[in-house]
């Protein structure tokens, strides 16, 4: 395995024409191999943009994003993306594909042998806690929201990518299902040793999953810290953010010994 960070931002700014300020500005940080970095912040702070800069859905206006030590501009975009798992809210499953076909997507694009694909799909369904007999042939609209999200995770993991990007994957779920999936995902992270970049606006979720939390504000990095440091921060904006948790009575002991630790 190569050494060095899995992902690195070097002076990255992304702006669009006619916007008053850059969407993200002067990002400078590295994500270590096997780490779970959770990006939090208010709507419009640049979380999703940061994520999309990693798998080259967007290219930086200034600066460089490096994946596996190589600038995203130097990667073949298709190769780069196939080596990165991607999960979005509402899963983004293909409505005309069955569960089996959705999960098999990247292996099939990479032309794996059919036998190995079938095996992998069963394995993935088991991994995310779905019975392959019952679910493989179903279409996304025949699943519940939580089941769809599990399929989304299974699809992202199918080709065994070293890096996983998740954009508010559990955002649209009811609280009980969400808590369940968060728990299972945290366990999954520990088992698989993936590098994970996870976007959410739910700080509780961040504290549960993260090895480090990145708080963004107006396109800039406000604070980058481990969950424990985050809870004791003196940064005023971060404290205001934390205050919302206190109201809900967050139990500090439940905080995860997260993936990388």
């Amino acid at each position: 395995m190569r050494s060095g960070p899995a992902v690195e931002f070097r002076g990255v700014t992304f702006s669009v024409e006619h916007a008053p300020r850059p969407i993200v500005a002067d990002l400078d940080f590295a994500i270590a191999r096997g780490e779970t970095l959770v990006i939090v912040g208010e709507s419009g702070c640049g979380k999703t943009t940061t994520l999309k800069l990693i798998n080259r859905l967007l290219l930086p206006t200034r600066g460089t994003v490096l994946v596996e030590g190589r600038a995203t501009t130097a990667w073949d975009p298709v190769r780069l993306r196939r080596s990165i798992g991607y999960v979005i809210q509402e899963a983004g499953l293909f409505p005309h594909f069955t569960v089996e076909e959705n999960i098999a997507l990247v292996p099939r694009l990479d032309a794996w042998p059919e036998e190995r694909i079938r095996h992998r799909v069963r394995e993935m369904l088991q991994l995310v806690g779905l019975d392959s007999e019952r679910f493989a042939a179903r279409f996304p609209h025949e699943l519940s929201g939580g089941q769809r999200q599990r399929v989304g995770v299974a699809r992202a993991l199918a080709a065994d990518p070293p890096l996983l990007l998740l954009d508010e994957p559990f955002g649209a779920l009811d609280p009980l299902t969400r808590a369940e999936l968060q728990r299972e995902f945290a366990a999954l992270c520990r088992r698989l040793h993936k590098t994970v970049v996870f976007v959410t606006h739910d700080l509780r979720e961040a504290l549960l999953l993260a090895s480090r939390i990145a708080l963004m504000r107006d396109g800039r990095m406000q604070l980058l810290a481990t969950p424990r440091e985050f809870l004791r921060t003196t940064d005023e904006y971060a404290r205001a953010y934390l205050a919302t948790l206190r109201v809900e009575g967050f139990d500090e002991d439940r905080m995860a010994p997260s993936c990388a630790e």
């Binding site: 798998n55 859905l57 993306r81 991607y86 899963a91 983004g92 499953l93 069955t98």
Partner: protein, 518 residues
């Protein structure tokens, strides 16, 4: 009962026209889909051209069908008369709904799904074939369905340029004042529209249903579709070839045209039969609407057709009307040879002038004899005229000025054949018909005398391309033989035999030849 009998007697014709119609629609819609869907995809990828392309397609669709057919005739390769031109026109009409729905369908694919597909590492091609097209297929199919249904309708007009199809019966029925013929064309056309709509609707809902991707491989469907189309085209052209007169390539070949009214068809039949009797192979391109005959003659699509000197002089050469019969003929003869390299044959013997017609009952009651006689009644009368009469320089405008007529309302502008029906039914009180029309006697109409000599002479003549006359001497011979051979009374009689007694033009022409010993 009578209707059933009619269908029973004519079902082979009906079957042939229906299949012609269907083939026309299927081929043109399929080609339009093969052009329109890729074009739509291209426009989604290059949105800069989208408005322009949709604008052009939209404008094409607003061009009236007969006008579009007319515009296509002089064009090389795609033009001319017959099924090919009709197919081109139908394709142009079908493009808009297909392109538009392709764009709408692809743009309508859920943003998240598209983003996920790209983020999974799909190439643009994979995105298109595996995600965008399958998800847009239902909407695209709806566009094809709309195009096909429009096509069934427009294809009826295609009969005007000799493309066949069910419109042939409708046009014939309108001309001959025969409801059975109109219905025999219109009812199957309507049923075909419903059937096409239903069948493609079924296909559409199947495609809209979410189906496993592998059992529905779009690429295979596209390939199979294209292959089927090529096969269909091949069978169709083979069929056309097989049914075309093939009595030998050594025979000289000549295409006889005619305009779209009974007299023209009879004249076309007469000359066609006379040529055939002399061993010339003849192709009939009858019932061409508007000025299509002239355009087709100039373009070399037909070799010969019957024309009237007055029409040639004013409508085609653009001169102001002239009443001197001899002068008009000589002018036309000279100018046609110079301008168009077309020979004007000797006069056939009769004239088909504009005839101002009223109901016989009115004429007797009000003692009407000349056009001047109607001036006092005009303010309470309604007039109905064919498009031709309204627009030409020796038509309506000069007519009302010459006779100082004021009608209750502006004249109803309608199809010439319909004016006879409208007059007989009392919808209008005066029309401008043709003096040789068989319906004049059949419907008890009276022609009023042109006492102020307003209308220019319309002597019937045959026009033939000079090149054809040189190549096929028989054409010249027949033209000479026909000089002065048909009197106005004979022409009116033949027209009546077709329009009133419902005999076929070919049969009437044969009987006349037998009487004359031609």
């Amino acid at each position: 009962m009578e209707r059933l009998q009619f269908f029973a007697q004519n079902w082979p014709l009906l079957l042939r026209l229906t299949s012609e119609h269907l083939v026309l629609v299927v081929i043109s819609t399929a080609i339009a889909a093969l052009i329109g869907i890729p074009l739509g995809i291209l426009l989604v990828r290059h949105p800069r051209w989208k408005d322009l392309a949709l604008g052009i397609a939209g404008v094409l669709q607003t061009v009236p069908s007969l006008a579009l057919f007319g515009l296509l005739i002089p064009l090389p390769l795609i033009g001319g008369i017959g099924a090919r031109t009709a197919t081109v026109a139908l394709i142009l009409y079908a493009l808009l709904p297909i392109i538009r729905n392709t764009i709408t369908g692809i743009e309508g694919v859920d943003r998240h799904v598209r983003e996920a597909a790209i983020a999974m590492g799909m190439t643009p091609r994979q995105l298109l074939w595996q995600v965008e097209l399958p998800l847009a297929m239902g909407v695209i199919m709806a566009g094809v369905r709309v195009a096909a249904v429009i096509g069934v309708g427009v294809a009826t007009i295609a009969a005007a340029i000799g493309a066949g199809g069910l419109g042939t019966l409708i046009f014939r029925g309108l001309r001959a004042n025969d409801d059975r013929l109109i219905l025999a064309g219109a009812v199957p056309a309507a049923m075909m529209a419903l059937a096409v709509d239903w069948a493609l609707g079924r296909l559409e809902s199947r495609l809209r249903a979410r189906r496993p991707s592998r059992t529905f491989d779009l690429r295979a469907v596209g390939l199979a579709g294209s292959a089927a189309l090529v096969l269909l085209l091949a069978i169709f052209s083979a069929w056309r070839f097989a049914t075309a007169p093939t009595a030998g390539l050594t025979k000289p070949r000549l295409v006889v045209g005619s305009k779209d009214f009974t007299e023209q068809v009879i004249l076309g039949e007469i000359i066609a039969q006379m040529l055939e009797a002399r061993g010339v192979e003849v192709e009939r391109r009858f019932e061409l609407g508007g000025n299509l005959c002239h355009n087709a003659l100039i373009a070399g699509q037909i070799d010969l057709y019957p024309e009237y000197t007055g029409t040639a002089y004013t409508a085609i050469l653009g001169h102001p009307p002239l009443t001197d019969v001899r002068a008009v003929y000589e002018h036309v003869q000279r100018e046609y040879l110079e301008k168009f390299d077309v020979i004007v044959g000797p006069p056939l013997g009769f004239r088909n002038d504009f005839a101002i017609l009223v109901r016989g009952a009115d004429a007797r009651r009000l003692r009407l004899r000349t056009i001047s006689d109607i001036a006092p009644y005009a303010p309470s009368w309604r007039a109905g005229f064919g498009q031709d009469f309204i627009s030409r320089s020796d038509g309506y405008a000069g007519f009302v000025r010459a006779y100082n007529l004021r009608f209750a309302a502006p004249p109803r502008e309608m199809d010439l054949a319909l004016t006879y029906r409208a007059l007989a039914a009392g919808e209008v009180d005066v029309i401008a018909g043709n003096s040789t029309d068989g319906l004049i006697a059949a419907l008890d109409l009276v022609q009023l005398e042109d006492d102020r000599r307003y209308f220019p002479p319309y002597e019937a003549v045959m026009l033939v391309r000079r090149e054809t006359a040189t190549r096929i001497p028989e054409a010249r011979e027949v033209l000479e033989r026909l000089a002065g051979s048909i009197s106005t009374a004979e022409m009116r009689q033949m027209n009546y035999e077709v329009d009133g007694e419902r005999r076929s033009p070919a049969e009437v022409a044969r009987a006349w030849r037998a009487r004359k010993g031609f």
